[in-house]
């Protein structure tokens, strides 16, 4: 069944496999209360704290959605909100120690998956893939 899927779809397949693996590893390590949507947002929180609006923009969701997800992350102990000293309207979302345990774990699994991929396609192709995807990001990432 060697159909000619478009490149976007092929990316979807690989990305989903990666996400499932990382999600499973995180859940398996005892952090089973984080959902994929929450994790996607959490991954974008800066180590020095992020505003909700920034988070929403970079994750490409509305600020209401971002607020909803941060509420849950806060309740689960992964983030906390503090007043933004630079702006009385804003609050900074900060990662807690608990989050700082999970994130390396998730990154580690992602690296492991990448290593498996590299084993399958070879070092050269993997390097080209990363280079090409980074170039594509320049024209496909509305945030950066």
């Amino acid at each position: 069944m060697a159909e000619e899927l478009n490149v976007g779809l092929l990316m979807f397949i690989a990305h989903r496999a990666m996400e499932n693996r990382v999600f499973a590893a995180v859940a398996n390590a005892g952090y089973g209360d984080v959902t994929i949507a929450q994790a996607r947002l959490m991954a974008r929180i800066s180590s020095t704290g992020s505003r909700l609006t920034t988070l929403a923009e970079s994750a490409q969701v509305t600020k209401q959605t971002a607020g909803f997800l941060v509420d849950q992350l806060e309740r689960a102990g992964y983030v906390e909100r503090v007043p933004d000293p630079a702006d009385g309207r804003a609050r900074l979302v900060l990662l807690t120690d608990k989050a700082k345990e999970v994130l390396p774990l998730a990154n580690g699994e992602a690296a492991a998956v990448e290593a498996e991929w590299e084993k399958h396609i070879g070092k050269r192709r993997m390097a080209q893939l990363r280079e090409t995807l980074t170039m594509l990001r320049e024209i496909t990432d509305p945030y950066l």
Copy 2:
């Protein structure tokens, strides 16, 4: 901000951009009643008809979810269900003429996006990208 995102995340960014473009083109052409989830499923329906279970498996959702989406596609006139002559339990989901108008349109926009990408990264990199992603599919697509 040249962070080192993992390859899975980079794919997510590009894929989402592609999906948004295709979705917008379809909506713009007057087919604004199809959602992304419905479209993802519809794209997997074989021209000779597909069973719900097959569809669910290939889209990686439960058969209940697939059934829910097919219900909506049926109500909107994009698919119809007929008895499967080969199995009394099963029904075949068939694309209607309306669906056969939309799908080329969606594929056309996807091709247009790919052409833009190729213009940005070059013909050689585009060919390599497709080749590499196809190889990755071998180990990341649980369906095929």
